[in-house]
C-alpha cells in the first residue's frame, strides 16, 4: 500500500503540482509579460526632461541678437529634508546635515531667498519640489552646490535650466521680442518663430529605487536626445538699426513728440527690412520693467485692480510694434503713389501744367460740392507735374486723382498692396489698412474720397505698408514682400529655410518708376522742393514729406493732432534703400514748425547720411558741397609745428596757435572729432589746454556761420547735421546739448540744421 500511495504522491507532488505552477508562470511571464512589464517600468522609472537649447537669433552680419545660455533652478524637497533630519532615519556611515533652520539661513545668505517663506515651504513635507530660485547664474549655482556638499544635504537640489540673453539690450526690441519664464516666445520674432526656435525637448529615463534614489547598477536607460532649436538670421543690420534708433530718438526729443514714433529702413530691391524701430523701446533682458515716470504714475492709482489694469495696459503699449501694428493717415507721402498711377496710366505727363489757385471745388452732384483747400492758401499758380510734386500741391494731386478715376485708382492702390491685404511681413501683429469699400469709393457722389485719397488723407495704412508701396514705386515697379528672417539653420548648421526676395506683382513699368524716383529727387534736391531738409551732400536722395491732422480726433474732439512723416529713397538713379520716419503728435512747444518737412525730413536725411556710406554707396560731391563738408580733426600733437601747419593747410583748416615754441603739446578738438567746415583748430605750444568748463549757448535760429563764430569765441566747436549748409536759409533747429549746460573747453556741439525758408503743412 505504501508503494502504491507513494507513487500517487510522486505523481501529484512531483508532476501535477509543478505542471500547475508551470502553467501559472507561463501565463504571467509569457502571456501577460507586456502588461506587467509596462506597469513595473512605470513605477521604476523617472523621466527627466532634457531641455532643448533655444536657437540663436543673428543679425545679417552674424551678430548675436538673442541667445540662450545655461541657468539654474534651485529647489528644495521638504519630504527629504524632513526624512533626513528626523532621528529615526539615519543610515549608518552617511550623515545628512539636513536641518530646516540651517537650510533656510544658508539659502537666504546665498540667494537672498526669504528665510521665513522657506521654512513655511518645508512644512509641506509631502512635497518633493518647492522652487527657491529660478534662472540663476552659474556662479550662484556653484555656491549653492558648495553649501550642499559642505553639509551633505539631501533635500536641496539644483536643476539645469536655460535663460535668454539679449546682448544688445533694447536694440531692435520690437523686432526681436522676448520669451516668458518657460522660454516660450511672447513677442516679436521670438513669438512668431517660436516653433522653429524652441527645438524639441529630449528626455532621460532613469531607474530609481522605491525610496527615490538611483539604482546601484542601471541596466535600463533610455536617452531621447534633445533637438536644439533652429538659428535665425535676420535681414536686420545692427549698425543700421543703431543709426535709425539714434535719429528716431533725436527726432522724438527735438520735436517734443507726445505719442509714438517709428522708423523703418528697407532695401527697396528685395523687401528686406534693414532696420525697424519704435520710440517706445524697452530692455529685452527685463521686458516687464516700465520706465520710471510710468511707474510713478501707476503708483498714484489707489485702486489695486485699476493699477494692475493700468500696468498691463502700459506694458502692452511698451511692447506694441507701431511700425506694423498701427495705422496712420500717410498724408502727402501718398502723393508718390498717386503720381506713379497717373504716370503709368498716361493721364498725366511730366510737363503737364497744373494750376493751383489755393482751392478747388470737388464733389459729384450739385449742392454737395465743397471746396478743397491747398495747404498753401495763396495757391501755387502754374506748375508742371514735377513742380507740383516739389510743392506738394494738394490741388494738383486732387486733379490727378480725378483724371485717373476712382475705379483705376482703387485698382492700383490694391495692386500696391495697400488695402484688402497685408504686406505679409514676418513680424507679429501686422494690422490691415483701412480703405473704402470699393462700391462706395467708385460712386461719383463720393468723389471727395478720391480727391482726398489722392493726397493721402482720410484713410489709414500701416507704416510697413507705406514703405513697401513706396519701394515698389521706385524700384522698377515691383511690389516686394517685405521680410525680416532670411535664413534658418538647424543645429548642425544646415540651412533648412531660406527666404528669397519675392515679387508679389509688377505694379508700374520700370520707366514710370525711374521717372517717379527722379521727381522725388527734385523734391529734396531742387531749389523750392519741400523735402530740402533731407538733403545729403554727395548723395542723390529723394523723398516726400507727409503732414496730416488726425481726422478722427479733429471730428470728435475739435482739436488738431498731427502726424508728421517723411519717406526718403536713395540713390535716386538706382534706388537701394527707403527710409520712413513717422512721428505721432508733435508739440508746437518744440519751437519747430509742425510739418513733415521740418520735423521728419532732417532725421531721414541724417539716417541716409550714415547708412549710405555704410552700405558702400560712394558720394559724389559738387565743388560747393565739398567746401562745406565736415572736417575730421587730424592728430597734430605728434608733429612739429611746421608739419602741422602744412597738414592743416592741406585739409583746409585754419590754426590758432597758443603759446610759444616748436613743440605741440595739446590740441583742440581731439583727433577724430567732426567739425564744421571753416572751423578754426587750436594748438598749444609748450602748454596744456585750459581745463575750464564752458556754458553752452542757445544756437537755435542761427545760421551756420553765426553759430560757428559764437562757439569759436567760447572755445567750442560746431558740428552740423541735417539739412545741407549749402541750402540757403538753413538755420540751427536744435542742438544735442541744450543751452545752459556746461561742457569742457574745446567740446564739439552738434546741431541740426533745418531749412525753414519754406514752411507749410505739406
Amino acid at each position: 500500500m505504501i508503494l502504491r500511495r507513494t507513487l500517487v504522491l510522486a505523481v501529484v507532488c512531483g508532476i501535477v503540482a509543478f505542471s500547475v505552477l508551470a502553467v501559472q508562470l507561463y501565463n504571467i511571464m509569457i502571456r501577460d509579460h507586456d502588461f506587467y512589464e509596462e506597469k513595473a517600468i512605470r513605477q521604476q522609472t523617472r523621466t527627466v526632461a532634457v531641455a532643448a537649447s533655444r536657437g540663436t537669433i543673428y543679425d545679417t552680419n552674424g551678430r548675436t541678437l538673442a541667445k540662450s545660455a545655461t541657468a539654474y533652478t534651485v529647489f528644495i524637497s521638504p519630504y527629504e529634508i524632513q526624512l533626513y533630519s528626523t532621528k529615526e532615519y539615519k543610515p549608518k556611515e552617511i550623515h545628512y546635515g539636513d536641518d530646516p533652520e540651517l537650510i533656510a539661513s544658508g539659502l537666504e545668505r546665498i540667494l537672498g531667498a526669504d528665510h521665513d517663506k522657506l521654512l513655511e515651504q518645508m512644512k509641506d513635507t509631502k512635497s518633493w519640489y518647492k522652487t527657491v530660485a529660478t534662472k540663476i547664474e552659474a556662479d550662484l549655482a556653484d555656491e549653492v552646490r558648495a553649501f550642499i556638499d559642505e553639509y551633505n544635504l539631501a533635500g536641496v537640489h539644483i536643476e539645469e535650466d536655460s535663460k535668454r540673453y539679449y546682448p544688445n539690450g533694447d536694440l531692435a526690441c520690437h523686432v526681436i521680442g522676448f520669451v516668458g519664464t518657460e522660454n516660450y516666445g511672447l513677442e516679436g520674432i521670438e513669438a512668431l518663430y517660436d516653433e522653429r526656435l524652441e527645438g524639441t525637448n529630449g528626455s532621460v529615463v532613469r531607474l530609481v529605487a522605491q525610496n527615490g534614489t538611483e539604482m546601484l547598477f542601471e541596466n535600463y536607460q533610455n536617452y531621447n536626445d534633445a533637438i536644439d532649436g533652429n538659428d535665425l538670421t535676420l535681414t536686420l543690420d545692427c549698425n543700421i538699426q543703431a543709426i535709425a534708433e539714434k535719429y528716431l530718438q533725436q527726432a522724438m526729443e527735438a520735436n517734443y513728440i507726445q505719442n509714438g514714433g517709428c522708423v523703418i529702413v528697407m532695401n527697396v530691391k528685395t523687401g528686406e527690412i534693414l532696420a525697424l524701430a519704435n520710440a517706445n523701446s524697452y530692455d529685452l533682458n527685463d521686458p516687464w520693467a516700465l520706465p520710471e515716470e510710468v511707474q510713478e504714475q501707476l503708483a498714484l492709482i489707489p485702486d489695486e485692480e485699476e493699477r494692475s489694469a493700468a500696468r498691463t495696459a502700459a506694458l502692452m503699449a511698451q511692447w506694441r510694434n507701431m511700425a506694423v501694428s498701427d495705422t496712420y493717415e500717410p498724408g502727402s507721402v501718398f502723393k508718390i503713389i498717386t503720381m506713379a498711377i497717373g504716370l503709368e496710366e498716361g493721364v498725366v505727363k511730366e510737363n503737364d501744367n497744373f494750376y493751383c489757385g489755393g482751392k478747388i471745388p470737388v464733389g459729384g452732384i450739385p449742392g454737395r460740392i465743397t471746396d478743397l483747400n491747398c495747404w498753401k492758401h495763396a495757391g501755387h499758380g502754374n506748375q508742371t507735374l514735377r513742380e507740383a510734386a516739389m510743392h506738394s500741391c494738394n490741388v494738383a494731386f486732387a486733379n490727378i486723382g480725378m483724371k485717373i478715376g476712382a475705379e483705376k485708382y482703387d485698382e492700383y492702390v490694391e495692386a500696391f498692396g495697400l488695402m484688402r491685404s497685408k504686406t505679409g511681413v514676418d513680424l507679429s501683429g501686422e494690422a490691415a489698412s483701412q480703405w473704402w469699400d470699393k462700391k462706395y469709393f467708385e460712386d461719383p457722389n463720393n468723389m471727395s474720397s478720391l480727391t482726398s485719397a489722392a493726397f493721402g488723407q482720410t484713410f489709414n495704412v500701416t507704416p510697413i505698408g507705406m514703405i513697401t508701396a513706396v519701394s515698389a514705386a521706385v524700384n522698377g515697379g515691383y511690389l516686394m514682400e517685405p521680410y525680416i528672417v532670411k535664413e534658418v539653420r538647424n543645429e548642425d548648421g544646415e540651412v533648412v529655410y531660406s527666404k528669397e526676395p519675392t515679387v508679389v506683382r509688377q505694379v508700374i513699368s520700370e520707366e514710370t518708376s525711374a521717372l517717379v524716383a527722379d521727381i522725388l529727387e527734385s523734391v529734396v534736391g531742387d531749389k523750392g522742393g519741400t523735402g530740402s531738409n533731407a538733403y545729403v551732400p554727395g548723395y542723390r536722395v529723394g523723398g516726400k514729406t507727409g503732414t496730416t491732422t488726425k481726422t478722427t480726433i479733429e471730428v470728435a474732439e475739435n482739436r488738431k493732432e498731427y502726424m508728421v512723416s517723411f519717406c526718403g529713397v536713395a540713390p535716386c538713379d538706382d534706388p537701394e534703400i527707403a527710409v520712413l520716419l513717422v512721428l505721432d503728435n508733435p508739440s508746437s512747444e518744440s519751437g519747430i514748425y509742425i510739418g513733415g518737412g521740418q520735423m521728419a525730413a532732417p532725421y531721414v536725411g541724417m539716417i541716409m547720411s550714415e547708412v549710405l556710406p555704410y552700405l558702400g554707396v560712394q558720394p559724389i560731391y559738387t565743388a560747393e558741397e565739398e567746401a562745406l563738408l565736415d572736417v575730421t580733426v587730424p592728430r597734430l600733437t605728434n608733429l612739429d609745428l611746421l608739419s602741422a601747419r602744412l597738414k592743416a593747410q592741406e585739409m583746409g583748416i585754419t590754426l590758432r596757435e597758443v603759446g610759444e615754441g616748436d613743440e605741440i603739446t595739446a590740441q583742440l578738438p581731439s583727433p577724430g572729432a567732426q567739425i564744421a567746415a571753416g572751423s578754426q583748430m587750436i594748438i598749444y605750444l609748450g602748454q596744456s589746454a585750459p581745463q575750464e568748463e564752458v556754458t553752452v549757448p542757445d544756437l537755435t535760429g542761427m545760421t551756420v556761420n553765426q553759430a560757428r563764430n559764437v562757439l569759436q569765441n567760447l572755445g567750442l566747436f560746431l558740428d552740423t547735421a541735417g539739412a545741407s549748409p549749402a541750402i540757403s536759409g538753413v538755420k540751427v533747429a536744435s542742438q544735442i546739448i541744450d543751452s545752459g549746460q556746461t561742457v569742457p573747453y574745446g567740446a564739439v556741439i552738434q546741431v541740426t540744421l533745418v531749412d525753414s525758408s519754406n514752411l507749410g503743412r505739406y
Binding site: 500500500m1 500511495r5 512531483g14 500547475v20 501559472q24 508562470l25 512589464e37 556611515e93 530609481v208 546601484l216
Partner: protein, 406 residues
C-alpha cells in the same frame, strides 16, 4: 497491494520482501550493512542550494545596501548557514534510521512544549504581530520548523506500530488527528496559518501513505474546510488576505501590495529574464524580496526559462525522494522520506503558488532559497535524514533497479 506486508494477503513467493521484513524486525537490534549515500539526491540538493544562495545575494543586496549599508550582509549570513547546514546534513546522514525512530516521540514532545512556550516567550517580527520565533542571539529560531520534522518522524513511527490497524478509525485516524489538532491549536495561538496548513497537509500525506482509508480523508477535508472557513472569515487579517487574493488591485498600497509587486517582478521576466543581478523590483518595490518573495526575483532575473529550470530541479529532487522511499529498506525509512519529500513539495508548491497569486498570500518560504538561518539548517538536516536512510538501501538491489529501468 502492500508489498511490505505478506500477511495482508500477498502469497506470492517473493524472498526479497521476506528478507526485508526480517530486517525490519531486527533493524533496531543490530547494525545493518550500509551502502553509500544516494548521489543524485545529494547533488540535486547541493545544486539547488547553490542557486538559492546566489539568489539570496542577488535579491538582497539592494535592500542590504540601502537599509543596512552593507550590500552583502544577508548573503554572508546565508552562506554561513548554508555551509554549516551542509556539514550538519552530512553528519545527519551518518546516523541509522533506528536512531531517528528512537528520537521521534521525544522530538514531538519537545516541539509541542516549545510551541506552547512561543506565544509567551517568543518574539514576533511579522507584520501581523504574531510571536513565532525564539531569539537565540546569533539567530532566531522558529519552533514550528522542528514541529514539522517531529510530525514526520512521529507519524512514521506510529504508522509502523499500527501498521496492521491503519485501516481502522481508532488506530488509523484518532491518534494522528489528536496530535495534529494539538499542534495546530498551538500554532494558531501564535497565530501561524501557513505553518498550520503545512502541518495539516503533511499529517494528511503521512496518514495517506501509511494506509488510512480514503473515506476518512473525505470527512477530514470537510472538517478542515469548515474550520478553515471559520478561521478565514473570523480572523481579520486572514480575510483581508482573501480579498487581496481575489483582487490585489482593490488595495494596491496595502494588502494587495505584495502580490502586485510580486506579479510585476515575475511578469517582467519574460522568456529569458532581465539578467542575473539585474532585477529592478528588488529595489525595495517588492517587500520580502530575499525571503518569501525571492522566487519572483529569480523569475525577473532568469526569465521563464530560468524559473522552469529551478522548478524542474525541485521536481527532480522530489521525484528522486519518492523513488528513494519506494526503494527504502524498511517501512519507517520509506515513510520518513515520503514525509520529508512531501514537506519539501508542499513548501515549494505553496511558495510559488503564493507569489503567483494562485493561492492567498501567506508566509511560506521557498526551501534552499529564502533567507533564514534555522529554516535552512532544518531543511538540510532533513535532507541529511533522507540521505541517511538512502544508505540503507542495499547496493546490489539499487544497481539492479537502475539496470532494470534502462
Amino acid at each position: 497491494m502492500d508489498s511490505y506486508s505478506p500477511s495482508e494477503g500477498n502469497t506470492g513467493a517473493q524472498p526479497e520482501y521476506a528478507a526485508r521484513e526480517l530486517r525490519d524486525r531486527t533493524a533496531e537490534s543490530r547494525a545493518v550493512q550500509r551502502g553509500p549515500i544516494d548521489l543524485p539526491f545529494l547533488l540535486l540538493t547541493l545544486l539547488i542550494l547553490t542557486i538559492g544562495v546566489i539568489m539570496v545575494l542577488s535579491a538582497s543586496f539592494a535592500r542590504a545596501y540601502y537599509k543596512e549599508n552593507d550590500a552583502t550582509k544577508y548573503f554572508v549570513r546565508q552562506l554561513f548557514f548554508a555551509v554549516a547546514g551542509v556539514a550538519l546534513m552530512l553528519v545527519a546522514s551518518r546516523f541509522n534510521s533506528s536512531f531517528y525512530r528512537r528520537m521521534a516521540m521525544p522530538l514531538l514532545m519537545v516541539s509541542l512544549f516549545l510551541l506552547a512556550l512561543v506565544p509567551f516567550f517568543g518574539t514576533g517580527k511579522s507584520q501581523v504581530g504574531a510571536n513565532r520565533w525564539f531569539d537565540l542571539g546569533i539567530t532566531q529560531f522558529q519552533p514550528s520548523e522542528i514541529a514539522k520534522v517531529a510530525i514526520v518522524l512521529a507519524f512514521a513511527h506510529m504508522i509502523c506500530i499500527y501498521k496492521n490497524q491503519m485501516g481502522t478509525f481508532k488506530y488509523g485516524v484518532v491518534p494522528f488527528a489528536l496530535i495534529l489538532i494539538v499542534t495546530v491549536a498551538l500554532l494558531m495561538l501564535e497565530p501561524h496559518i501557513s505553518a498550520s496548513v503545512i502541518v495539516i497537509a503533511l499529517g494528511a500525506i503521512m496518514m495517506f501513505a501509511g494506509g488510512t482509508r480514503w473515506q476518512y480523508f473525505a470527512v477530514g477535508i470537510v472538517v478542515v474546510g469548515l474550520v478553515g472557513y471559520l478561521v478565514v472569515t473570523k480572523m481579520a487579517y486572514a480575510s483581508s488576505r482573501i480579498t487581496a487574493w481575489l483582487d490585489p488591485w482593490s488595495d494596491p498600497l496595502d494588502s494587495g501590495l505584495q502580490t502586485i509587486q510580486s506579479l510585476y517582478a515575475i511578469g517582467s521576466g519574460g522568456l529569458l529574464g532581465v539578467g542575473l543581478g539585474q532585477s529592478r523590483q528588488k529595489y525595495m518595490y517588492l517587500p520580502e524580496e530575499h525571503n518569501d518573495f525571492i522566487f519572483p526575483i529569480a523569475c525577473e532575473e532568469l526569465g521563464f526559462v530560468g524559473a522552469m529550470l529551478i522548478l524542474v530541479l525541485f521536481a527532480l529532487l522530489i521525484i528522486r525522494g519518492y523513488w528513494l522511499a519506494i526503494h527504502s529498506r524498511d517501512r519507517f525509512g520509506a515513510l520518513v522520506i515520503v514525509g520529508i519529500t512531501s514537506k519539501l513539495a508542499i513548501q515549494v508548491f505553496l511558495n510559488v503558488a503564493v507569489v503567483t497569486n494562485l493561492v492567498p498570500c501567506t508566509g511560506i518560504s521557498l526551501p534552499f532559497f529564502s533567507y533564514g538561518g534555522t529554516a535552512l539548517l532544518v531543511q538540510l538536516v532533513e535532507m541529511g535524514i533522507v540521505l541517511a536512510i538512502s544508505r540503507e538501501i542495499p547496493l546490489r538491489k539499487r544497481k539492479n533497479e537502475e539496470n532494470g529501468e534502462k
